[in-house]
């Protein structure tokens, strides 16, 4: 799409559209609704199959499909003439010739495009008295999706999803003509990481979720827009809620985050919300107990530890993370807070990585000349980005280079692939940085691929998607050197995009859940002024040191919030020992786990469908997690519980609700200062004026930055 503005006239209305835009979309801008079935821009080029969108264009004798006709300046279009109405009602009638019209028993009933368009554009009554085609009634397309082929109107959407978006080429059209049906090879199940999306895009009740079949009708459900926090992708979703319970999860298109798709984990994971193992009330040493007792005992135990306590935060909102670190630092006077499986980048490095100029946003992937995937497999770690990268390659001709320990799902589309040995990440990234500077080394082939990307004229737009484990492997400085070598900071649409280990990693770091940084990535002493005197206290322990200190008895108490060390962290035996050694263990958890079994006090946590708060996407977008479903009776708001615990410890913050918690967070994080009404699509703090309030990168500027042996810069010198 050229973007040049053109003016067209639709039904007498002047509409300004961008050249090359499809007529259907342009008309919508002028509030002219043209009915469609097969057209779905998310799926790529139009196919013009259903013929529902026929319109009259002056100067062209035959009606044209508006879904596939790019607008031209001065185009005059009619969508309501007799000729058009006749065509539209004819198409609807044709689509119904073989459709069973079993709406009363159809899950789609009430939210079905075919139903709506039949109402709005179809013929009054049916003239069809002949036998319709028959297929076995709903059969398993996969363990999760049922297909009812009698309802299918052959719009091509689902098979295009399989072909053009997921690229698994498993879902196909079989046979021909009106015998055509949607199926898989040899009737095997359609198993793929994103296949649930076909149930969202099917315009009829042909593809439905087993998890939802007959669970609810449109008139007794509500849709609640929120965010999926099962992985760092933080896809925007809409919970279908009935009787306070989540019955279904569907997409809530956000081009800046998920492009309108979600993975099957996000879609079907909701069933865990009322799993057997759900912790539904406070526990005291294994037994149920009342809230007051629980809070009291927790406070007592922690007080007894006399500041020799630590906290580790996992799945938590920004507000929760912020409050936990205040609980530790203020109520308990301990600096030992972390939100990572193990010590990663230092505060100084995190600050450097956080500079707005270096940041790429998700949608930058679309326009990238080169996507460089370093030390992560998006399909595993941030699934939706796997689709985003495929789209960039397929539709926008982006090039891809991959450098990882193990093969990734994206390898198939890569121009260049490099594999490094475990533990070699830091070295490899340094080599890559210097190879980009012209040095000859193992990374040269990859570097060449990266250099060749782009038109050559302007500097190539490179988006580097990197996994947090690079930081744990000590590759942060090399990564920053790489960013310099690629001139990311200087190039519009280029930048670094981290795929962190945990779902709200960025938010928790920025909220202060780091051993060496307070809220807003401030130095702890700046954050908390006088209360820390000795260096030791200034410098909190990271997750691994916390473990060791618990074992050695240096630390006595531990607060775990939304994290299960025995499952989530490496070295389970060591954690077994540490948890056993802890005198006082307070665990906030959604589910019963081996860890809750060891706890003195267990507090139930809300799920992401129940809690109220914000999270921060790896690209800096603050998003709203809205309470969508009701919590089990005995479960209280996480924020409230933290407030009560803090109060019980003699430190009443007065923060006991999401609004007050967010207000406090915003005061504590200068670069969040302009985040006001987040709204449905979220706000990237880098795009607000307060962005310049992020701590300055006070390290030496890039060109002189030394990254130890094999420094790109020294090499560059020697090369020149």
């Amino acid at each position: 799409m050229s973007g040049k503005e053109v003016t067209i006239v639709v039904d007498g209305r002047e509409i300004v559209a961008s050249e090359g835009e499809m007529l259907h979309d342009a008309a919508r801008k002028g509030d002219v609704e043209i009915p469609v079935f097969c057209y779905e821009p998310k799926l790529g080029d139009p196919v013009g199959a259903c013929r529902m969108c026929l319109v009259e264009i002056e100067g062209i004798p035959k009606l044209q499909t508006s879904c596939s006709t790019p607008v031209r300046d001065g185009m005059v279009v009619h969508t309501r003439t007799e000729q058009v109405k006749h065509a539209q009602s004819a198409v609807v009638e044709f689509l119904l010739v073989n459709h069973p019209l079993d709406c009363p028993v159809c899950d789609k009933g009430g939210e079905c495009p075919l139903q709506d368009i039949t109402q709005g554009w179809g013929p009054g009554q049916s003239r069809v008295i002949d036998e319709k085609r028959h297929f076995p009634k709903p059969i398993e397309l996969s363990p999760l999706v049922a297909i009812d082929r009698e309802r299918c109107i052959l719009c091509y959407r689902c098979v295009r999803f399989s072909q053009e978006i997921a690229e698994d080429e498993q879902l196909q059209l079989l046979e021909r003509g009106d015998r055509t049906f949607v199926g898989t090879f040899d009737e095997r199940p359609y198993v793929a990481p994103f296949h649930g999306n076909i149930t969202d895009i099917c315009p009829v009740g042909a593809l439905t979720n087993y998890t939802y079949r007959f669970r609810a009708r449109p008139w007794d459900i509500e849709q609640a827009g929120s965010v999926c926090t099962l992985c760092p992708s933080q896809c925007n979703v809409s919970f279908t809620v009935r009787d306070e319970k989540v019955k279904r999860v569907i997409t809530r298109d956000n081009h800046e985050v998920d492009d309108g798709w979600i993975c099957d984990r996000g879609r079907y994971g909701f069933e865990m919300f009322d799993a057997e193992e759900r912790v539904c009330g406070p526990r005291l040493r294994g037994g149920e107990t009342g809230w007051e007792t629980a809070i009291e005992s927790a406070a007592e135990g922690l007080r007894a530890a006399g500041g020799r306590v630590a906290a580790i935060v996992g799945d938590a909102s920004n507000e929760e993370g912020y409050l936990v670190q205040r609980l530790l630092r203020e109520a308990l006077g301990s600096p030992h807070v972390d939100s990572r499986p193990s010590r990663g980048a230092s505060r100084e490095q995190i600050v450097r990585l956080a500079q707005p100029g270096l940041a790429a946003k998700v949608s930058d992937i679309d326009g990238a000349d080169m996507v460089l995937v370093l030390g992560t497999d998006p399909l595993h770690s941030s699934p939706i980005l796997d689709l985003r990268v495929r789209k960039a390659i397929r539709r926008n001709g982006a090039k891809l280079a991959v450098a990882t320990e193990r093969p990734t799902a994206l390898d198939g589309g890569a121009e260049a692939i490099a594999r490094y040995a475990p533990g070699e990440a830091a070295h490899f990234v340094a080599e890559l940085a210097s190879a980009l500077g012209g040095a000859e080394n193992v990374a040269t082939p990859l570097a060449d691929a990266v250099r060749e990307a782009g038109d050559g004229a302007s500097p190539a737009k490179v988006v580097v998607i990197w996994g947090e484990r690079l930081a744990r492997d000590g590759a942060t400085d090399s990564l920053l050197a790489l960013a310099d070598a690629l001139g990311l900071a200087a190039t519009e649409g280029a930048g670094l995009l981290e795929i962190p280990d945990t779902t709200n990693a960025r938010g928790l770091r920025e909220a202060g859940c780091l051993p060496d940084a307070g809220p807003g990535l401030a130095e702890p002493n700046r954050a908390f002024g006088s209360q820390y005197d000795s260096k030791a206290q200034l410098d909190g322990k990271g997750t691994e040191e916390i473990r060791e200190a618990l074992e050695s008895g240096e630390l006595e108490g531990l607060v775990l919030f939304g994290v299960d060390p025995l499952r989530d962290f490496p070295d389970t035996p060591a954690w077994e020992a540490a948890l056993t050694a802890a005198n006082h263990l307070v665990v906030f958890s959604t589910f019963e786990t081996a860890t809750t079994a060891k706890a003195d006090v267990v507090f139930p946590l809300e799920t992401h469908a129940e809690k109220d708060g914000t999270v921060t996407h790896p690209d800096g977008r603050l998003q709203r997690v809205r309470p969508s479903a009701g919590r089990p009776d005995e479960v209280r708001s996480n924020i409230q519980v933290l407030a009560e615990l803090s109060a019980a410890l003699g430190h009443d913050t007065g923060i006991d609700s999401q609004p007050s918690a967010f207000a406090a967070l915003r005061d504590a994080v200068p670069f969040y200062a302009d985040i006001d009404d987040i709204g449905g699509q979220g706000i990237r703090w880098q795009e607000t004026p307060a962005a310049n309030a992020v701590p300055a990168d006070d390290s030496a500027s890039g060109s002189e930055r030394a990254v130890g042996p094999g420094s790109p810069d020294t090499q560059r010198e020697s090369a020149s």
């Binding site: 080429e169 046979e175 040899d186 947090e468 280990d501 779902t503 994290v563 299960d564 989530d568």
Partner: protein, 213 residues
């Protein structure tokens, strides 16, 4: 917390964790494409398909010829045969089955190896195609080696009513000839020599039946 890289994801048994691939074809999740060693494709078939792919600027163009090859090898496009072609061509079996099922001459269900297609379209119908088809079907009744089917216009209305017998055209045929034709076809003999299209001259050179010409 659920570290979603390295340490393994928090909810294990979800499809998201299933993709592992060494693939090299831009686009497409290669794990859906069978590896050669998984399908033990007969060498001749493999070489044939590779030769066919080499004829075209884009190997996808060899899909239909490759499916023809599979059908020649196995009598019809068996799932196994399709998987073998898929492995050689680096496409998903689903893709090739989808293509095969579109075309009338490619069979995705078992059929007899001796095939008779009787044209039942307008010109042949006018000249008795329905009886002819019935006659062939009667002869083939219960014989799994013979596959008789009515077919749309075969492009030989000049010899109506006609049939393609073993991929060769014959006509005008009479119902009484069905038995002989099928016997000859199965015996590998020349089928109804005097009815073979190949033997005919130009219509304009034929002795005129009455007056004109």
């Amino acid at each position: 917390m659920s570290p979603v890289d390295g340490a393994g994801t928090s909810s294990p048994d979800l499809p998201v964790d299933q993709a592992v691939t060494e693939g090299r074809v831009p686009g497409r999740r290669e794990e859906e494409v069978p590896e050669l060693h998984e399908v033990d494709c007969p060498p001749q078939l493999r070489e044939r398909i590779e030769e066919l792919m080499s004829r075209y600027p884009d190997r996808r163009s060899a899909s239909i010829p490759a499916l023809w090859a599979v059908q020649e090898r196995y009598g019809w496009c068996t799932p196994e045969g399709i998987r073998q072609a898929a492995a050689v061509m680096r496409f998903t079996p689903a893709y090739l089955e989808s293509v095969a099922s579109f075309y009338d001459l490619l069979h995705t269900e078992p059929v007899g190896t001796h095939r008779v297609e009787v044209c039942t379209n307008i010109s042949c119908w006018m000249r008795g195609a329905d009886d002819l088809l019935a006659a062939f079907e009667a002869v083939a009744e219960g014989d799994d080696d013979v596959f008789v089917t009515g077919f749309e216009c075969l492009g030989a209305c000049d010899i109506a009513p006609m049939a393609a017998i073993g991929q060769r055209y014959y006509g005008p045929l009479e119902a009484a000839e069905a038995q002989t034709a099928i016997d000859q076809l199965k015996a590998g003999e020349e089928v109804l020599p005097e009815k073979a299209l190949a033997r005919r001259g130009l219509a304009g050179d034929a002795p005129s039946p009455g007056g004109a010409g």
